[in-house]
């Protein structure tokens, strides 16, 4: 499955380190025949963009044998096993989040222990339970103890229930983060649907929440507003399911008046800061200030 590396071309996003803090891979039990092609396409585009590390998760069976956002324990394990295998095989460019379903709290804790032991550097929460539910507390607490950032799927401003997910928004995640001030939370995909302006207000005063820029949304003004509301040291670059929009946002960051250091913070330095030490050998530790 290892995709061809770039053939000597300069990366489209330049030579500086670049960490995609929100990536996904597929596997044979994900219910789609082209799963390997999609994984290969992520590597192909990653090489072309210049992504140094993909920090990725597998979301159970992606709906094939249990719902994507409500994965069964068996699917959680199958998915994590697939992700472990990819991360170990692609050691020089892939890192892993452990996916869990907090409705099975004991299982979730065991999965975090099992996968962290084998190299996982973060925890992935989907939309199986509202973010501020007490069921998430043991997971958030363990993540904090281990220094594992928790990437939480977020709907930017939930105004009603939507099918197939128990959605959470910035306010929900802020309540969880306020209970676990020693845990770092990554607020998923400000470009992933909903009203990101609501999110910026909701988390501005919660310093242990780091929004990522991923998602298909490329609204003009979104990046400027994120930096204005939160500062460059609170933002992480990522792609999620659309790497074209990830590249577009990188190029847009060059046009909104940021200093070079601020762009580097978003590209990779913030990720190096919040993930466990030595997670990214190819990103220079001494460059992190």
């Amino acid at each position: 499955m290892t995709a061809a590396r770039g053939a000597g071309e300069a990366p489209l996003a330049g030579p500086a380190p670049l960490i995609d803090a929100h990536a996904h891979f597929y596997h044979a039990d994900a219910g789609r025949a082209d799963w390997a092609d999609v994984n290969a396409a992520r590597f192909r585009a990653g090489e072309r963009i210049g992504i140094t590390y993909h920090v990725a998760s597998v979301l159970g069976s992606y709906g094939f044998s249990s719902p994507t956002y409500f994965p069964s324990p068996a699917d959680v394990e199958r998915g994590n096993n697939a992700m472990l295998e990819i991360a170990q095989r692609e050691r020089d460019r892939v890192r892993m989040f452990t996916t869990v379903n907090p409705n099975y709290t004991d299982h979730a804790v065991r999965e975090i222990e099992r996968c962290t032991e084998r190299g996982a550097i973060g925890v992935k929460l989907l939309a199986s339970r509202r973010a501020d539910d007490p069921l998430l507390d043991p997971i958030a607490e363990l993540a904090g103890e281990r220094g594992l950032p928790v990437l939480h799927h977020i709907w930017q401003h939930r105004t009603r229930e939507w099918p197939s997910q128990e959605i959470s928004d910035g306010l929900d995640l802020a309540r969880l983060a306020a209970r676990h001030t020693n845990t770092t939370f990554i607020l998923a995909h400000i470009g992933g649907g909903g009203d990101y302006m609501h999110t910026f207000r909701a988390v501005a005063d919660v310093p242990n929440i780091y929004p990522d820029l991923s998602g298909s949304g490329v609204d003009r003004g979104m990046l400027d507003s994120a930096v204005a509301a939160l500062g460059a040291k609170r933002l992480l670059w990522g792609c999620d399911l659309t790497m074209c929009t990830g590249l577009a946002k990188l190029r847009a960051l060059d046009t909104i008046g940021l200093q070079t250091g601020e762009i580097e913070d978003i590209r990779w330095r913030n990720a190096v800061r919040i993930f466990p030490a030595n997670s990214f050998e190819r990103c220079s530790a001494e460059a992190v200030r």
């Binding site: 105004t159 909903g194 990101y196 949304g217 003004g221 577009a248 946002k249 190029r251």
Partner: protein, 248 residues
């Protein structure tokens, strides 16, 4: 390269930075885009677009070498034929229509009449599937997306009809394309502003199945980053990176 999907003026449901012609020209320079077709964003929500068209023409007049005005023509208003002729006289490369925002259903005969009349003047209709992601819309923004059925109905309206459909995704494009005869398919061009690239590679799949010649460059500036369609083209698989898009 021409960006067929740009607009100027404010949007009623959220703040859009610098939606002005001079900002657009600077963006075109930065992105090395030769010219743009430009609509008037507020007119989408006006009952009568006539005064919005006049404002658009005045706004773009100092930038006429780069920015080509695309007025809106509303076929359910009396005298739309004159508005169409005025657009042609003003040198418009196309005219814009907004059926969902105007409450015109997919089989409205007046839309088909406009499509045929515009085609006879050599003017494509520019259609917009959406302005924002469904999940982020203002509670008062209830028009909904343009339907595939509406696009198919217009494409079938007559031999002269030419459509430039903007802001459609893969699923809609495929539903329309494979629901038309080959002759009808050739009446439709699609902009790439809302088609995803890797890892799902919708754009490359569409190029391989439908043909790159059916697609044109469009960004939906100032609503969306103009960098997005360019990035999508830059991330095509190696064997598609030199393909030529369609011509308007």
């Amino acid at each position: 390269m021409i960006d067929v999907n740009t607009l100027v003026g404010p949007y009623p449901f959220r703040y859009v930075p610098h939606p002005t012609p001079d900002a657009l020209v600077r963006v075109l320079d930065r992105e090395e885009i030769e010219a743009a077709w430009v609509g008037h964003l507020p007119s989408v929500f006006y009952r009568d677009p006539a005064l919005g068209n006049a404002e658009l023409l005045a706004m773009l007049q100092p930038f006429a070498s780069r920015l080509r005005a695309v007025p809106a023509v509303r076929p359910d208003w009396p005298g739309w034929e004159a508005g169409l002729r005025d657009a042609k006289s003003a040198g418009a490369p196309a005219v814009r229509v907004y059926p969902p925002q105007w409450g015109l259903g997919p089989h409205d005969p007046r839309l088909r009449e406009l499509a045929v009349a515009a085609g006879e003047l050599g003017l494509p209709l520019v259609l917009t599937v959406r302005f924002e992601d469904l999940r982020q819309r203002h509670p008062l923004d209830v028009a909904g997306d343009l339907s595939a059925a509406a696009i198919r109905a217009l494409a079938r309206a007559g031999d002269t009809v030419r459509l430039v459909v903007t802001a459609a995704g893969r699923e809609m494009i495929e539903e329309v394309h494979w629901g038309l005869t080959p002759a009808e398919q050739r009446r439709v061009l699609w902009d790439i502003s809302w088609i995803w690239g890797p890892p799902e590679d919708h754009l490359s799949k569409l190029f391989r199945t439908i043909g790159a010649e059916r697609f044109v460059f469009g960004s939906q500036w100032p609503m969306r980053l103009v960098q997005a369609p360019r990035a999508n083209l830059d991330l095509l698989p190696d064997d598609l990176r030199r393909v030529s898009l369609g011509r308007v």
